[in-house]
Each structure stands twice: as structure tokens, then as C-alpha cells.
Symmetry: C2
Subunit: 442 residues, 2 copies
């Protein structure tokens, strides 16, 4: 919903006279999806704490009609109509639009394996699913959990389930955590998981879920092993919800998400798309990518809303910034990893440093900073960091540098803040840039 509500709000700002309707199939709008693991963990006690705005707020404060429980079943770009089933389901409505913004979001990619529909198997991609998981944990007194997938959500769920007192096994289909982070940066996260009792099993694609007589999951198997589980959390990634668009003949991109211009236009006239259903252009590689995150969804929604209301906004694209907290460790990344940079055709090189994130004499701890750069141009291509503190927001310096297409030399010259409680006189980012420069000159 992030993209849809951003679009609606922006359109309202641009034009106070538009009639703006937002259709939402489910019961909830405007909540922090990224807060769901914290809700499961009980750190956030009430679902309401994650809710940002109510439909009432949109109606009264922004003159936007937000209609929950309304499912759009068809869109007809030719006649500029959508077909809507209101709550109850009786009477189909045909609604005309002048401009349409598709913000259908993403859905969990469900592995096709036996037992996937057993009770006790959850994803945590929306508020209702997270609440159902929490109720299950409480009512079933679960003791063992399997998390399928070692990406951001899987990791956050591992911490949440350990906080709930469960013994957690994490199955990762590939050789290591994170496809978008190089192995050396992911390694400390693997250790952090082990230190907190999480058993991580790499190269273990899910084979089956086995239930008991009551249809409740009891065992999880993969090619080379199996383990008990009272509860299974699927964190196997997202795929764009594109059926509506596809049926309407709207073009999808190579990633399978809706192809959009930098004005968030789709291939259909007067139809925009934004958020987790749409592609984005990666500023570093220049390619269309699928990188579904709330930050991007909000920005794309803003652009789509402005243009749908008659403005002329462009979406600047993404650099692939992401951060996650796993127990006491922070991990952050932006741009291309070394592996991604090579795949994108760069003869990329990397440099890694370990440096204190603030003055050691005030308790500063080391963080690891890895930069990736293009030897031909000297341009920064990406950065990754891991450490106990000072990682997540420090990556933003490098994200900004990527937007500005800075060279590593320019990064090494940045006038960054310093005071002993916050940094060292050479910030780790600057130390990494110097090491990267030396590597490029070799």
C-alpha cells in the first residue's frame, strides 16, 4: 500500500480538485511492513503501533477515499475502467478513471513443495499473516522453528523467534546468506547467528514439509537432512503481483515486474505503476532491476502520483541500499557487490578495511567496510559494511556518492563529521576509499 498511498497523497498536493479513490483488497492500509518481525517478537506489543494512518485520516485530512475490502479484478486500459468487487462480493462495479496508478505490491514467493499448505506454515509479508503467526506461537507453545530463506526477512525473523524462546533452524538454498552481499561480508552474520543458537544450513533447498494427523507441520526436509519444526516461516522472497497488469496487456520487464519509464508510466496510456509490482532502474548498472523495498515504493508512488495528477516528475532510480540488524550486528549494502559488478560487465575490484567506527578510547569497535570500484573510470560501484554499530546510516554516505557518480578519489576527499563519540579522524569510509585507491593503482 505504501506506493498507492504515496501516489494518492502526492496527487492531492498537486491538484486539490481531483477525485481520488484507493482500492485495497485487504483490511489494512498504511502500516510498517518492516515492523512485522518486531511484532512477532513481541517487542512491538500491539499491531496498532505499526499502523501509520487510517482510511479515516485519508478521507478527512486529504480528501482521499480509501476503500478497504475492495478487490479490483480487472483493468481495461482501452476503456479506462476498472472492475471492482466491493466487500460482500455481490455487485461488481465498473469504475472509470482518467489516470490509474497500479500499486498491487508483491506477494511471498511460495516454494512448490509437498506440505506447503499445512497449518503452522507462515509467511510474514502482511499484518494479518504476522498476527496469525503470533497467535500460533502463543496457542501452540511452539519450541522449534524452521525459517526458509536467509535474506533480510529471514534474518529478522530468526532474531524474533529466538526472542520468543524457540530453537531456530534456518535453511538457505544457496551457498551463503544474501545474494546481494559478498561472502566475506556475510560471514560475520553467519557467526552471529551461530552465537545466538540459530542453526544455519546452507545449500539446503526446501524439499518437503511433513505434518501430523491434524494437518499441522511437524518436520521439514531438504535434500540432505531433516529437522523437527512446530512452526515454519517462509522467507523465500517476494514476487511482483502482476496478474491484473498482465491480463490487461501491460508490458512486464525482464525481471517479471511491470516495466516502467522514469515517469512511472507503463506501456498502457494513462496507467502508471509504482512500488513492489514495478521495476526500477539501477543508477550504477543502468539496468532494470526488481528490488522491492518500502523506501523505493514510497518514492515511486510519489512520482506516479505527481504525474497522474498532471505534473512532470521523474524517479531518479535506485542504488540498491539496504540495511538489516541481526542480533548485535548491523549489515548494510549499497550499489553493486563485487559479484554483481562482475556480472554487470565491470572488471571490478574490491578493497576491504577494518576500522573503528568511533574513537577506541571511548569504546569504539571495528567495522568492516568493503568498497567495489571500476578500475577503468575510478568510479565507485558499491559498498558493504558489517559491524556492531555505526553501519546502517554510514552506508548512506556511499549511497549518496553512488547517486552522484563519484570516483573513489572523490569519496576519499569527503569532509565527513568527526568527534570522538561518533567517528575517528579518518572515518572508516575514508580509510576504505584510500585502500580502494591503492588497489586501483596497483
Amino acid at each position: 500500500m505504501a506506493a498507492g498511498l504515496s501516489a494518492a497523497s502526492r496527487a492531492r498536493r498537486v491538484n486539490p480538485y481531483l477525485e481520488i479513490l484507493v482500492y485495497e483488497k485487504g483490511p489494512d492500509i498504511s502500516y510498517s511492513a518492516c515492523g512485522l518481525p518486531h511484532l512477532v517478537a513481541g517487542v512491538v506489543r500491539e499491531a496498532d503501533a505499526l499502523r501509520v494512518y487510517s482510511p479515516d485520516f485519508f478521507r478527512t485530512s486529504r480528501n482521499i477515499q480509501v476503500l478497504t475490502g475492495h478487490e479490483v479484478t480487472e483493468i481495461s486500459p482501452g476503456s479506462r475502467r476498472v472492475t471492482v468487487i466491493p466487500p460482500g462480493g455481490a455487485n461488481l462495479q465498473e469504475v472509470h478513471y482518467d489516470r490509474l496508478v497500479l500499486a498491487t505490491g508483491a506477494e511471498p514467493a511460495r516454494p512448490v513443495v509437498p506440505g506447503i499448505d499445512l497449518s503452522g506454515v507462515f509467511h510474514v509479508n502482511d499484518l494479518q499473516a504476522a498476527l496469525a503467526l503470533r497467535r500460533h506461537l502463543e496457542s501452540e507453545r511452539c519450541q522449534t522453528a524452521v525459517i526458509v530463506g536467509g535474506g533480510y526477512i529471514g534474518l529478522e525473523m530468526a532474531e524474533a523467534l529466538v526472542a520468543c524462546g524457540l530453537r531456530v533452524t534456518m535453511l538457505e538454498r544457496s551457498a551463503g546468506l544474501f545474494e546481494s552481499v559478498d561472502e566475506d561480508i556475510a560471514a560475520p552474520i553467519e557467526k552471529e547467528l551461530a552465537d545466538h543458537g540459530v542453526r544455519l544450513i546452507n545449500q539446503a533447498p526446501l524439499a518437503s514439509l511433513v505434518g501430523d494427523r491434524s494437518g499441522c507441520v511437524r518436520r521439514v526436509t531438504w535434500e540432505k537432512g531433516e529437522t523437527e519444526a512446530n512452526v515454519v516461516v517462509l522467507a523465500t522472497g517476494l514476487r511482483p503481483r502482476v496478474k491484473l497488469a498482465e491480463h490487461a496487456g501491460i508490458q512486464l520487464g525482464v525481471t517479471g515486474a511491470i516495466a516502467v519509464s522514469d515517469r512511472m508510466e507503463t506501456s498502457a496510456a494513462a496507467v502508471y505503476a509504482a512500488g513492489d509490482c514495478a521495476e526500477a532502474t539501477h543508477v550504477v548498472s543502468g539496468r532494470s532491476v526488481y528490488f522491492p523495498l518500502g523506501t523505493t515504493a514510497n518514492k515511486q508512488g510519489r512520482t506516479a502520483g505527481e504525474n497522474a495528477a498532471g505534473g512532470r516528475a521523474r524517479f531518479a532510480g535506485i542504488v540498491g541500499t539496504a540495511a538489516v540488524k541481526v542480533f548485535a550486528l548491523e549489515l548494510a549494502r549499497t550499489g553493486l557487490s563485487l559479484t554483481q559488478a562482475k556480472e554487470a560487465g565491470f572488471s571490478a575490484r574490491a578493497a576491504t578495511v577494518r576500522a573503528a567506527e568511533h574513537a577506541r578510547y571511548l569504546g569504539g569497535k571495528d567495522i568492516v567496510v568493503k568498497l567495489v570500484a571500476d578500475p577503468a573510470s575510478g568510479r565507485l560501484l558499491g559498498a558493504q559494511m558489517v559491524g556492531v554499530a555505526g553501519v546502517a546510516k554510514r552506508i548512506d554516505v556511499l549511497a549518496t556518492a553512488l547517486h552522484a557518480r563519484m570516483t573513489v578519489e572523490q569519496v576519499s576527499e569527503l569532509d565527513l563529521s568527526y568527534a570522538p563519540p561518533f567517528s575517528t579522524v579518518w572515518d572508516p569510509v575514508l580509510i576504505a576509499a584510500q585502500e580502494m585507491l591503492r588497489e586501483l593503482r596497483r
Copy 2:
């Protein structure tokens, strides 16, 4: 010494065969000057914790001769010689150089008032002064302190002296703390001081210090008042040490510091200057400024060292980034304040927002972000932030944007990291940029 040692180390990297001599008048080299308030507070227990490298390290690891206790009394660019008094002072030495780097640093600006030489009056600009202050606090069992000057060092010293159990009065000659921060951003710091029992008196230029019979300070007076004090700390700013350069006919800039090119060349052939004795170019205003900080000193030293050794490095200039912690508050700034921007001839406007620095449902607290921009070009000119956390390193995003000469619109599009423990889905920087855009469009 930061600039000098950076220059020497860089020169060694560029050319392994140079003979490199570093003359230091005092007994100490290579320590964290910014750590001195923490040494006074006792948070850092031993001076050695602040020392980074010893002369021995430079000799054995980098083949650089660091000569402490050696005072350079004259430089003669014509004959490429310096005159040095070695420890003991007997025999003047004349030493030839091919290239000379001036890194004479800065000295405390001492107010010219009666009583300034009383015992119990300290500055904290070098290690020996900080240690002397600490000994004085211990031996005299001081109870009341006056800090003269409400800049970064004054604020850090206020916290240090409160930690030592003293009642602290702070005298600030102007109408508010900080010349480089707008009043609205400085206001929370004034409250923070008051909440910790520090009495801040604005518009109170120091008039005199009054001592007892033993020559020890006992009272401090200003135009409209006076107060008791067992100890006085002068935090009245720095001025560049330029006597040597001046006597040698080397040109000073409008700020009174040594004028330098972006290669750190002075007006004299083969003489470079770097660090707190030299000016720097402000990237935003394009003007020469005097902004003595360790971060700049190190970078300028690196440039001077590279060029002195035959390289061709340029110093990119500064954007005036600074951060300070005052009790529980962080304050950070970069670029031009609104006042500074107007002084620099911009018809600048500002926008200020208050936003949570991470998710409120995980305990995130509000920070205040103020941006300054140029309506004509839409360009970002500066930023200031204050809050309990997440301020110091967040300012670096805007410092990087200033280096890249980004518009506010470009800042509003940045792909910054988000996870609930670190940020909100719209980072406060992005919220501020949106508000600034609205202000610019008004």
C-alpha cells in the same frame, strides 16, 4: 601535528627514497586532540590512550625522522633553509630542504584581559595543557569553574567539568552558542546545558580574572556580572600559528591563515602549508575560510605530502562539517547556515523538520533537521541537525551532497538505508528535503 605527520607519511608512500625530517617544538606528537576533554573528564584515564604513534614508530616503520623538542625559529625560502634549535638550545642548526611543508598548527586565542596569566587559567589545546588542568582539578579540589567561550571545545569541556563534579558557568560573548549554527538549532543545546546545571551567560565578553594573594584565580568578571571560579578554561577559539611564515614573507590570506592553492602551495617556491595554520576553500561559497579541524588537517597534509614528494594531488576543499556531543544531545552541521548563506550573498531560504530518527515503535526519538538552499538554482547550501541520536553521521549524507553540488530535489531522491532500528521509511533527511522543496516552490 596531524597535518605534518600526514604529509610525511604520504611523501614516504610516494617516494621511498626521500629523506624526511619532521620538527616538533613540543614533547608530543600524534595524539587525538579531540580526545582531550575526555581525558580531563577522566573518561579516558591515561594520556597514552590518546597517543596514536610514537616517534619510534615513524622512524622504524616509515623511515621518517620525527624530532621532538626541536624548535624551528626561521625559514628562508630563498636559500631553502630552516633554522632549528635542538633540545637544550645551545647550537642552532641550519638545515637545507628541497621541499618544505609548514604544519605549524594553531594556538589558543587568548583574550587580552587583566588576570589572564593567573594560575588556574587553562586552555585545552594540547596534551600538556589538558594534563595540567587535570592535575589542577585534583590537587586544588576545585568546585567552581568558568568556561570562556561556547564553541565546540567549550561545550565538550562543560560536560567534562560537570563530570568532574564542578559547578560550571559558561560565558559566551555573542547572543548565542556557535557562530556557525543558526539560533533555532542551538536552542536545544542551551536547554541541555541548563538541564545539567551549566549556567550559560550569553552576551558576556570576558572582562577580567581576579586572583587571590597566591596568584590563583578566584573570580571572573564580565560587563554585567561576576562569579566565583577555582578554575577557568579558555575555549575562545584558535588562531593560526603563522609567525614563521609571515617572517619569511609568505603570503597570508584574508582570514589571517596562510594562503594556499588547491595543491597546498604557498606563495613561496617549494613551500607548502597544511592544517590549522592554513586556509581552505569552502566548496559551497567558493571562498577561502579558516576552519581548523583535524579532519581537514589530515587531508591537507596528505595533499601537501604527495605534492612535496613530486606528486600532483589536489585538495578538494571543505564543506565545513562538524559534530559535537553535549551531554545527551548531538549537534552536527555542514555547509552554510542560513546566516552564513545570506552573508555569502545567497538569497537563501531554510526549512526545518522534526522527525523520528528511527521507528518510533522501537523507541526512535525526534531529531531536528534544518536545510538551507538557494532558490535560484535549487541547490543545497547547508544542513544542521540536533537530537539525541542519529545526528552526527547522518549529517555526512548532506556533506556528501554538498561536495556533489546536489540540488534539494536530488537529495529528496536519495536511496537511503531503511530498517526500523536505524531509520524511518522516509529518512529525516528526505523529509527535510521535501519540506525544503515546498519552501523553494512557494
